[in-house]
């Protein structure tokens, strides 16, 4: 899939597998060789009596032993991705599961099945699967493997097993409720810091997302006016003789700058906007993960409190508490490790995205500069020719 323009590799010296048919995707986890390559493409519309929906082709190439084959091709719809995400959250409540594109986009007023919407969603789904594949723990998740390899009917029957949607929702509700009840009393400082960080980060990333959209809108408005500006000079040149060439030259320069502006806009919408949006979603996910950790801890805390007031059955309680203590320690460690990893990636993503934005702007200005400089050169050549001919007697 060569149409996707991903950010530059964070580790420039990493060799890219020549046999890989996928676009260059940055290596998140250091110099390990990737053994799982996933692409999402080819959206197709399906119309049944009840509904219309889109499926995407998911192609997996792998050299891993636990996969029966080295290549898989399946079709998945958005619902299937939602299922996968909720399974991952269930299995790893304190790991940072990558964001999925939203169900609907309210503000853009984009039609549900417009080409633009589908393409944006496709890219986001592709990103999602690749982020999961790059995650040291999630990549080995069983449901993930089934998602990538099972045929449609196999997946359906597998989905029917396991806890129902309602019970999953219950988990999140309880988590939110416990945080509403006043949060956790003994939240370790590290996680308190994480919470503070996430609150600020979430604010800032949302503002950045808005700013980026504003910039895109302003550039588009500018482009629309510029489109009209060049042709007026051409029109004028039709009623002039001596300055017709200069006018046509200016018209051509303006038109070229106009095209350059279009490229700049495209760069924004392909790169900065999706990344910022992804991190807006990430900030919500992270707040959720922190809450779930808090909830696991509050389970332990309430049991400890209960023990303190109990006189009998102390042994039973101690065993339970021991288990809960392990659970908390596991959750904390998992979150800590994933948090560090997430921060590293975030920095990497931000660095390359904003560098890319700067690069786009540089290219834009350099193109425009070249255009105007060559126009200027052509005009001053004429002037010199005129001056020379005037000097001669």
């Amino acid at each position: 899939d060569t149409s996707l323009t991903e950010v530059n590799s964070c580790i420039p010296s990493m060799p890219i597998s020549p046999s890989s048919m996928t676009n260059q995707y940055k290596f998140e986890d250091g110099p390990e060789l990737r053994d799982l390559f996933i692409t999402v493409d080819d959206p197709e519309s399906h119309i049944t009596a009840i509904e219309t929906f889109i499926t995407y082709r998911v192609v997996t190439k792998t050299s891993r032993g636990e996969f029966d084959s080295s290549e898989y091709e399946v079709r998945r719809r958005y619902q299937d991705f939602l299922w996968l995400k909720s399974k991952l959250e269930e299995a790893h409540p304190t790991l940072i599961i990558p964001p999925l594109p939203e169900k609907f986009i309210m503000k853009g007023m984009v039609e549900r099945f417009s080409d633009e919407f589908i393409e944006t969603r496709r890219k986001a789904l592709h990103k999602f699967l690749n982020r999961v594949a790059d995650h040291p723990t999630l990549t080995f998740n069983e449901d993930f493997k089934i998602f990538l390899t099972a045929q449609a009917w196999e997946l359906s029957s597998h989905k029917k097993q396991g806890p129902s949607l309602l019970s999953r929702m219950g988990q999140t509700v309880r988590a939110v409720a416990s945080s509403v009840r006043g949060g956790v009393k003994n939240r370790p400082e590290m996680f308190a810091e994480m919470n503070n960080y996430m609150e600020t980060f979430s604010q800032k990333i949302n503002v950045l997302d808005k700013i980026a959209h504003r910039i895109y809108k302003e550039e588009r408005d500018y482009f629309n006016e510029m489109k009209e500006y060049g042709p007026i000079h051409t029109l004028w040149s039709a009623s002039e003789e001596d300055i017709a060439d200069s006018l046509k030259g200016v018209a051509s320069c303006i038109d070229k700058c106009c095209k350059a502006t279009e490229k700049r806009m495209a760069g924004l919408s392909e790169n900065l906007l999706p990344i910022l949006h992804e991190y807006v979603l990430y900030s919500e996910i992270l707040m959720g993960v922190l809450k779930r950790r808090d909830q696991i801890q509050s389970e332990l805390d309430s049991k400890v409190d209960a023990l303190a007031s109990k006189k009998t059955e102390k042994d039973l309680f101690s065993e339970e508490i021991g288990k809960l203590e392990d659970k908390v320690e596991c959750a904390n460690n998992a979150l800590k490790a994933d948090w560090d990893r997430w921060k590293q990636n975030m920095q990497c993503d931000m660095r390359s995205t904003f560098t890319n934005v700067a690069e786009n702007n540089l290219q834009y200005y350099e193109e425009c500069l070249a255009t105007w400089e060559s126009f200027l050169a052509s005009q001053t050549v004429d002037l010199h020719v005129e001056e020379d001919s005037e000097d001669r007697p």
């Binding site: 980060f201 950045l208 629309n224 500006y229 007026i232 030259g249 920095q347 702007n361 200005y365």
Partner: protein
């Protein structure tokens, strides 16, 4: 341009001042006065320190001067004044006549007007113009005493002539079309330019929002903090840079506006030609009909319908003496008419000749000025691109260090 005033005298409009006074209806008004400074060039070259003469004039006096020149020299493409009210304004610019930026640009425009008149081979020799520059008191009275307002052609007469003239000089017809096209295309260009400027302003200013957010974000980041902070600073620089860029572009717009108004001056010359031509045609027509009348009276045949002819048929013929008297009167009128026609023809030819000479001069000036304006526009764009490259190069470096 051998002996034009501009070569002998340095002319500047160096200052603008807000004044309050009472107008004709004794109501308080605020207006701007402009300081015109003049200095003889010749004595300067001898190494002497020459004092500067100066006087204050307001815009309405400039208008009076220009009206005088237009009426007195109808065959000349008279340089236009800068606009009375701010037009083609984009949102950030004020449309207020008292706005300091507008006043400053108008000061430059008025100076330009005076220099154009002073370098014109015909106009620079005008005494009223000279007094405008040098005589503070009593100038208005002097102008009014020339009685130029009486010489002015009524707009209605001119409009009538435009529609009824039969054989205008083809070159003037073409020139009229050209001036219409020029006016149309320049005003369209200025309107779109104002909208483009507005949008460009929006793009730059919105980037300024990055600065504050980056700064706040950098507070919670350990490794990325410095990069974000310094990048934010560059975004502020970028956002601020548009103000100077667009101010410079406003001068370019003024250069185009001058020629927008020059188109009107061209039209005025064409109108004058049409008027003179129409006058000539009417005089010729009148002469022909008088000659015909004379012939009819002399030979007794009625070839053309005339009320007199009908009434005489109805109420009886006139006496031979009456007829003789009439013929005499007509013959006198015919002679007068023929002389008038001759002089009108001469006038017309002279007008066409001298007007066309000035139009050729104007065309050369226009081509030169507009080409220079386009070049200066390119220079401005280049400067804007270079600034952009610098800012984004700096920003890129900061981002890559995050």
């Amino acid at each position: 341009m051998e002996d034009c005033l501009a070569k002998k005298m340095e002319i500047t409009v160096s200052e603008a001042e807000k004044r309050t006074g009472r107008n004709a209806m004794n109501m308080q008004e605020t207006y701007t006065a402009y300081l015109i400074e003049t200095r003889s060039v010749e004595s300067q070259s001898e190494g002497q320190c020459v004092p500067v003469d100066s006087l204050w004039r307001r815009y309405s006096e400039f208008e009076l001067l220009r009206n005088y020149l237009s009426v007195t020299y109808p065959h000349i493409v008279v340089p236009p004044l800068p606009e009375k009210r701010a037009d083609f304004v984009w949102h950030k610019l004020s449309a207020d006549n008292m706005d300091p930026d507008f006043v400053e640009r108008r000061r430059i425009g008025l100076e330009n007007f005076l220099l154009r008149v002073a370098s014109h081979p015909v106009l620079c020799q005008d005494k009223i113009f000279y007094s405008f520059l040098t005589q503070e008191g009593g100038w208005k009275e002097m102008v009014n005493e020339t009685g130029f307002q009486l010489k002015a052609d009524s707009r209605l007469k001119a409009l009538n002539a435009t529609f009824r003239v039969k054989n205008p000089d083809k070159r003037f017809t073409e020139l009229k079309h050209y001036s219409d096209e020029l006016q149309c295309v320049i005003s369209h260009l200025l309107r779109v330019r104002a909208r483009v400027a507005d949008r460009l302003y929006g793009v730059y200013k919105v980037h300024g929002n990055y600065g504050r957010v980056f700064s706040e974000w950098s507070a919670i980041e350990k490794e990325m903090g410095d990069g974000l902070q310094s990048a934010g600073h560059h975004m502020d620089v970028y956002a601020a840079s548009i103000d100077d860029i667009l101010e410079e572009e406003e001068h370019y717009a003024d250069q185009l506006k001058e020629y927008l108004f020059y188109a009107e001056a061209l039209r005025a010359v064409c109108r004058k030609h049409e008027l003179m031509q129409y006058d000539l045609e009417m005089a010729a027509q009148d002469l022909t009909s008088k000659k015909q009348q004379c012939e009819e009276l002399a030979t007794g045949t009625v070839r053309t319908f005339s009320l007199k002819g009908m009434t005489s048929k109805l109420f009886g013929q006139e006496t031979p003496e009456q007829r003789e008297a009439k013929i005499k009167v007509l013959e006198e009128q015919i002679q007068e008419g023929e002389e008038q026609l001759k002089s009108k023809n001469l006038e017309g030819r002279d007008f066409v000749k001298s007007a066309w000479a000035d139009i050729e001069r104007f065309k050369e000036q226009k081509n030169h000025d507009l080409k220079e304006a386009l070049i200066s526009y390119a220079v401005m764009q280049i400067s804007m691109c270079k600034k952009g490259i610098q800012v984004w190069t700096n920003a890129k470096e900061c981002f890559s260090k995050m």
